[in-house]
């Protein structure tokens, strides 16, 4: 009895299966295979990219298509060159005009012969570490954006590629000491660079460059504070975006890298423009200014004219008649 029941069940099951199998092709013929099929344009409109599964180990190659590269190309080849060209050439032009019309900002009271320590050896080391790295990074970086239209036609393909290859290595490797320099600058000078009321007055009176006015300032005036924050924020941004490009796919996809390149390059060209201004004021733009980062000691009259409040502070610490305070106190400020 049980075996008969089992036979019936089996027969019923087999019949049902047969029915299903025979019906399947019949129903399949009625199904429009395109009805549920994917359309490229539709997918691109929905997500702006098409992604799927790949069976090779490189899972990132699962992105089939992402046409945003077109906008990035426009930025890299057109927009960036305009932004960079205007920012850098504009800064240089402004400096040249300023130098020819106003000229170097002189020490009005002349040199006193007495000096005061402005930056100790460590501060100067950090400054020049960052500065030399920055110059190499800037030149090698500008080469990527402007080298092809400007330098390549002059020196030819082979020489330009050779130079660009070394420039790329320099750019990648010097990013590490540069980042270290930016971090150290941030930490060691943060104390003197918090904006305060004196800065407003300083800015209102046009700083030390325009006219013969010398608004009071502590160790860093509003202009220097601006340079400080450009270095800290700009440096932080170029470092973060640069490492995203240097270590592809660690945390960012392809769109992330396009964004990183946009941030990196815009901040970098503005950074370069700002630093050209900084270099000008620190060298031929102002008498007695370079010594601060050169020997580390500035003339007391220079300090009085440009950083009167800072000089008062230093004098209060070391006694009113001593023009040469100890380096340690200067560093502590």
């Amino acid at each position: 009895m049980t075996s008969f029941g089992r036979f019936i069940r089996l027969a019923l099951g087999a019949w049902a299966l047969l029915l299903l199998v025979s019906m399947a092709p019949a129903s399949a013929q009625q199904v429009n295979p395109t009805a549920s099929s994917v359309k490229e344009q539709q997918l691109l409109q929905e997500l702006n990219r098409i992604q799927g599964r790949v069976s090779i180990p490189d899972q990132r190659s699962g992105v089939l298509e992402q046409p945003q590269g077109r906008e990035w190309r426009e930025f890299r080849n057109v927009t960036l060159r305009w932004i960079g060209g205007i920012a850098i050439l504009g800064t240089i032009a402004a400096i040249v005009i300023f130098y020819l019309t106003v000229g170097m900002v002189r020490l009005e009271s002349g040199r006193s012969g007495r000096t005061i320590v402005r930056f100790n050896a460590f501060e100067r080391f950090v400054h020049w570490l960052t500065a030399t790295c920055f110059i190499v990074l800037a030149i090698s970086g500008l080469n990527i954006t402007f080298g092809r239209p400007l330098l390549l036609p002059l020196i030819g393909f082979e020489a330009f590629s050779e130079w660009s290859q070394w420039a790329k290595y320099a750019h990648n490797y010097l990013s590490f000491p540069f980042t270290l320099g930016v971090v150290l600058i941030f930490l060691m000078w943060i104390g003197g660079n918090i904006p305060n009321k004196v800065d407003i007055e300083w800015a209102k009176r046009g700083g030390g460059l325009i006219g013969h006015d010398h608004p009071p300032a502590y160790r860093f005036n509003a202009g220097q504070k601006m340079i400080y924050w450009i270095v800290v924020i700009g440096g932080g941004l170029v470092a973060a975006s640069g490492y995203a490009l240097m270590f592809p796919f660690y945390g960012t996809g392809i769109e992330g890298m396009q964004m990183a390149q946009i941030v990196h390059s815009i901040v970098a060209v503005l950074f370069v423009a700002a630093m050209i201004g900084h270099i000008y004021i620190g060298t031929i733009g102002m008498e007695g200014a370079f010594e601060a980062m050169g020997s580390g000691e500035v003339d007391v009259n220079w300090a009085r004219e440009h950083h009167s409040l800072w000089l008062d502070e230093q004098k209060a610490r070391t006694g009113p008649n001593d023009g040469q305070p100890q380096p340690a106190t200067a560093a502590a400020e």
């Binding site: 490189d58 190659s61 077109r70 990035w72 954006t145 092809r148 890298m257 396009q258």
Partner: protein, 198 residues
């Protein structure tokens, strides 16, 4: 001269990866680099489609436009090739490419990018056709021998078509007409700014 293109008929691709294997073998492509890959969309769901994708040899190629050292060139057959001697491995072509074609071997510290490698349409590089130097850098030059890319030649379902754009478009149109459906020429609009009306 022909205008060489790739066309993957996604309704015929069975994701066998023969094109991927053929490419890797023909050009002795190093480990970790894939000049061609098969991407499956809607895997396991209704409407699943597989598309074999490599460099599409775009019209007005974005890689060539953004290259800082101008290492790309387009052949008379409209194949986009590059010089590994000039390439500095900056990664810009990869940012610009809509198809993820450029690949970089990891060399040196931090796995930094080496010279870019991509599909050559089996057309080698700037070195003399069929030379040892050309083979070492770019792989076989089948086009110089009068042959089409091996990936398409090896395709078991004739899903992947390579050849003159007008001819393969005609083949695809006929297929679509006969079977009554087709999901389109994948990547054509992006690569060539045109598509096949079906």
């Amino acid at each position: 001269m022909a205008r060489m293109k790739f066309l993957c008929d996604a309704d015929r691709c069975i994701e066998c990866n023969a094109c991927v294997t053929a490419c890797k073998n023909e050009h002795e492509v190093p480990w970790g680099i894939n000049r061609r890959r098969v991407v499956t969309i809607n895997d396991g769901k209704p409407g699943e489609r597989s598309i074999s994708m490599a460099c599409m040899h775009c019209t007005d190629a974005p890689c060539a436009a953004v290259c800082p050292v101008n290492c790309f060139y387009t052949t008379a057959d409209a194949v986009v090739l590059h010089s590994k001697d000039l390439c500095i491995g900056c990664g810009y072509c990869f940012y610009a490419c809509p198809f993820g074609a450029p690949q970089y071997p990891k060399v040196g510290n931090f796995g930094s990018r080496g010279k870019m490698d991509k599909c050559t349409y089996c057309a080698g590089g700037p070195e003399a056709d069929g030379s040892k130097e050309e083979y070492a850098k770019y792989g076989a030059n089948r086009l110089a021998e009068g042959k089409l890319p091996l990936c398409a030649e090896m395709c078991s379902t004739k899903s992947l078509l390579a050849g003159d754009g007008e001819i393969i478009a005609q083949i695809y149109k006929e297929r679509v007409m006969k079977r009554g459906y087709g999901s389109g020429a994948w990547g054509w609009k992006t690569a060539y700014r045109e598509t096949i009306e079906s």
